[in-house]
């Protein structure tokens, strides 16, 4: 192993990258704009839900209820008839249909506890659950305001003090921003090394290297350190300038600890990138393979939805993916302020997975040259 060669070849990679403006644009975009937009674009719980109202009461109270639904949470309610209701819901036009029965106002004032029917299209998961809660609150609010002072209520004096830790206001931008940093790290470390190797193969320059006094391990390592450095710099910039600076997301734990995690993650992913490039052989095939590998890596590793909601066998399989450990680590460090004593198992797992992937990549590399 000649470290000078590793250095020289790595510098060559960086020079090459400097002239590849498409890649540069992708790097800059992934670590700045992409993070910014994906954090600001994270939707609030309910957004422009389509609601229709069947008003069979036509009273003062029922029109007060209808007026209480407005953007941005709801679209302006459509007033429809009972007959229209089923068809509109079948066609997916409305997510909610509120049916106010005849004599509703009179029954409420008389204390007869009338029933309002709320139909929810539960195939629209994003709106169904939270939306029905909102509607319940809105309708109760309007009704109790209307009948205010009529009756006293009896209730148990047991309160519930709910506190959300690590993100007290449940601001979706925090999660979106950090998740997006993690996604960019994953994607770029794969794409940069894989593409660098395939470019060399397509130009026939790898072959050229192998007849020089340079070993396969040196070639692989040079790509790993140079492209890894780019990703490391990019992610530091993203975390410190974009996430902490621009988006003002408070980071709880130690940034250096997170960056150590990034180094290990990048090591593992770049090795995987080289391995995939040797399997694919050409750019189009590599791009196809990327689609089949990247999406499962990102989605099933716990970044979007918690791992414990997934079937056991998927949880087990995904333990082999570096992402799983990296996501646990970065959420721990960045959100919960976890220290080395908490995240060392993840760091260790990343070292093991990275070494195995590196070994596999190296083994395939020589074969790939034939």
């Amino acid at each position: 192993m000649n470290l000078k060669n590793v250095w020289n070849l790595g510098v060559k990679e960086l020079r090459g990258l400097w002239r590849d403006w498409i890649m540069l644009a992708l790097i800059v975009y992934s670590f700045s704009l992409s993070i910014y937009t994906s954090s600001t674009a994270m939707p609030e719980a309910l957004n422009k839900a389509a609601i229709a109202i069947v008003d069979e009461d036509q009273s003062h109270l029922s029109s007060r209820i209808a007026l209480a639904f407005y953007p941005p949470w709801f679209l302006e309610p459509r007033m429809i008839t009972t007959n229209e209701m089923d068809n509109r819901m079948d066609a997916g036009l409305d997510t909610f249909a509120l049916n106010i029965p005849p004599d509703f106002e009179r029954d409420v004032l008389a204390g007869r506890t009338p029933a309002i029917q709320l139909n929810v299209d539960a195939t629209r998961m994003s709106q169904a659950f939270t939306g029905s809660g909102y509607i319940q609150q809105i309708v109760s609010g309007e009704v109790s305001e209307y009948v205010a002072g009529h009756r006293a209520e009896t209730a148990l004096p047991v309160g519930l003090a709910l506190r959300a830790r690590y993100n007290p206001s449940l601001d979706p931008a925090w999660f979106g921003a950090i998740n997006s940093v993690i996604e960019s790290i994953t994607m770029l470390s794969l794409v940069l090394t894989g593409a660098a190797l395939i470019r060399e193969k397509e130009h026939g320059t790898v072959e050229h290297l192998l007849v020089m006094p340079v070993t396969a391990a040196e070639i692989v390592l040079s790509k790993i350190w140079s492209m890894g450095l780019v990703v490391l710099l990019g992610s530091s910039f993203a975390l410190i300038v974009v996430v902490q600076g621009l988006l003002e997301v408070p980071v709880q734990g130690s940034v250096p600890l997170f960056l150590i995690g990034v180094v290990l993650m990048v090591f593992a992913m770049t090795a995987l990138g080289i391995f995939m490039a040797t399997v694919a052989g050409s750019m189009p095939q590599f791009a196809l393979l990327m689609m089949l590998v990247l999406l499962p890596l990102q989605v099933l590793s716990g970044g979007m939805t918690p791992r414990e909601s997934m079937p056991d066998f998927i949880q087990t399989i995904m333990l082999a993916a570096p992402n799983t450990h990296f996501i646990t680590l970065s959420q721990g460090v960045l959100f919960r302020g976890a220290g080395l004593e908490t995240v060392w198992p993840q760091l260790f797992a990343l070292v093991v997975i990275g070494s195995v992937l590196f070994w596999l990549a190296l083994r395939r590399f020589r074969e790939f040259m034939k």
Partner: protein, 913 residues
Amino acid sequence: MTDESARPVAEVSELTLRYGKVTALDNVSLAIPAGCMVGLIGPDGVGKSSFLSLLAGARKIQDGAVRVLDGDMRNAGHRSQVCPRIAYMPQGLGKNLYSTLSVGENLDFFGRLFGHGRAERERRIADLLAATGMSPFRDRPAAKLSGGMKQKLGLCCALIHDPDLLILDEPTTGVDPLSRGQFWDLIDRIRADRPGMSVITATAYMEEAARFDWLVAMNAGQVLATGTPEELLARTGAETLDDAFIALLPAEQRGDDLAVKIPPRSAVATEFAIEAEGLTKRFGDFVAVDKVSFRIPKGEIFGFLGSNGCGKTTTMKMLTGLLEPTEGRARLFGHEVDARDMETRHRVGFMSQAFSLYSELTVRQNLELHARLFDMEEARIPARVEEMIERFDLGEVVRNLPDALPIGIRQRLSLAVAMIHGPEILILDEPTSGVDPVARNDFWRILMDLSRRDEVTIFVSTHFMNEAEWCDRISLMHAGKVLISDTAEAITKSKNSETLEGAFIAYLEDAIGQEATAPEATVSAVAKPVPEPHKTASAFSPRRLLSYSLLESLQLRRDPIRLSMALIGSLLLMIVIGLGINMDVEDLTFAVLDRDQTATSREYILDIAGSRYFNERPPLSGYADMDARMRSSELGLAIEIPPGFAADIARGRDIEVGAWFDGANPTRANTVQGYIQGMHADWIARKTRELYGDAALAGNFELLTRFRYNPDVRSIVAMVPAVIPLLLLMIPAILTTLSVAREKELGSIINFYVTPVTRLEFLLGKQLPYIALAMLNFALMMGMAVTFFGVPFSGSLAGFILSSLVYVIATTGLGLLVSVFITSQVAALFATVMLTMIPAVQYSGLIDPVSSLQGFGRVLGEIYPTSWFVTSARGAFSKAFGFAEQVESILAIGASVPVILGLATVFLKKQAR
């Protein structure tokens, strides 16, 4: 066709063609006589290929007029009328062939394109294969043919429809002399049988040009001279066409002196630089190199002569340690070649066949990098780089990127790079292919200098005979074997031949004679029996359409990555998305800090622990424990029950339960919050009822919430039916886009340009297999949705199948539409993902219903087929849609099909630009 000789077969006037700033053809006017062999001569990049592709109608005419076979080639009607009479073989070995298809399948494809029936095709294929001696290789994939065989196959494909005009673009470049000879003999025999046929061919070999009837000498996009070979020789007073051509060039391009003179080696060294002993390499059954032995003394120029694919490159790779020999030994300077031996590598310079410099580094940076990689002392590098720049005359281009340089200079740079560390052996793999004669002479003068002055041993492969003659000794190689090694003179004499080429052919004939005798089934069989008149191409032919479908399915079957994308891609992604976009909270871990420890507090905890949403963990010991366990994300929720909980409830005193939950993921935290509130409220309601009776609970009104279609509000039930439309859009569209972009990138699109296939046939033919594949995917996804995900299917299956069939016709069509505008596969992939995913995910009601969109998004959502299919899928799965309810969606999606295919057909170009 009796007055052929009088009327030109093709005529161009004032023809100009530009690629961006580069002028390929500059105001060319020319009439090409009919019924004879016409040769286009000139170095690479002077416009020969552009000229031929314009004649064939494969490229769009920019300026000027082209008349071929008595009609204007600008006129699409004329083109489609004459294209069955023209055969065009583009440059590049097997460029118009499909490499994964076998010889027979390739021919069959072309036969179908020209509308031959099965029996007719069989007869023609058998005849052509017999005539070219290819019958034994009928089942071999085109990729595994040698260069000469590829060209013969290309010719067979071109001849399958009895053309009147045969256009061949450098058909014999990179082919060994024997195959070259056989190739031209074949052409001669065909011409003898079809006297009216005109042949126009481009060639880089002047010796071939000598046997043509009429020549066009071209340089820099212009015609230098035309006439018979004799006329050209007479005009220039030269002896050979090579010299005649150089004499025709403008003075400043001629170079210094015409001939390369190699002085004899002064002292014959006894030391051997390179030795090979029984070197053998097998790839599976295929023997690439078979027991090759030679010894090359120090300072010799040793030539390796042979056709493409005869094992030259493999031998060189074994010498450099790139490949391990299966058997035998190779020694450099007496040391066995060992890939791990870095010491020997310092003494060797290698220049591979592919141009292998870093195109992103400048000339100087390339030289410096290689110097460093060869471990030269940092202090010596600048001087050495300067020396190389000087010696190889690169002074003017040091700051340029290699791609911007003419090929001759690039080859010099490659050599400079290979020489930077002062190696004692140079291994050069076809360093001069594609280089014009003048630059080739320059290059060889440098080699001569290196050998004679610096005593560098040079091992060089070539397929140019004149270069072979400049070598001290040469080896003739064929099919992995060395036929003979000796000086050029001795080899020529040994076969009593006048030229080296003649001797080489004689050796090849000896070698092949042992394998199989020549292909002497007469060609007359090919054309004679049913000399059917050329049918005018019909407007629509199912056979041509199906030929593309067949081609596509064969290719797909042989490409593992695309095939797995097509088959398991959708299932894999369905699992990923189905599980990934999951808003259910299940098995959330929680622990309790119970400071009360009474029956009431335990009852409260049991309520939570008993639900399917939460899993209880060992109790908390205090706040520090809570902090640590939540930090390591072991716990998602912590509950604290204050001391005196039971007592306070009994006395009606205000009391508060504390709940801390992990807010890192807000979407999920919101759901968790909702669950806890709900459970707390339930518990209070129950307690209240226990304490005060039912009346206490009566409110103003009651809200009865009916969760329709998905009563348990499970994510899976909502997501899976929506994932099917997404995947049936994305994957089929990607596959069809790639199928067209691949043809464009690999060059086989030329077959579409020059055959009678219409645009619609081409598109539909490509589409059909992918529709079938998408429907197979659909079936798999349905199976998975119902079994693995357990989503109930309540509607009409027939209605849903019909609706998805219409939908995949639309989505595969969408892919074709994208491909029309895109030329590279990678761009095709990304463009398709972007163009399909964004409208599908954001504007098709996947998450927010179309009715809650506004402006442009709303319009797009209303017309995009995916919106309709999402409604159809959700209806079929959850809303019990019968056939009748599907009709609206089917009609709406169906309406988009003619629009999509119509646009694709209109924008698809039937010619290159």
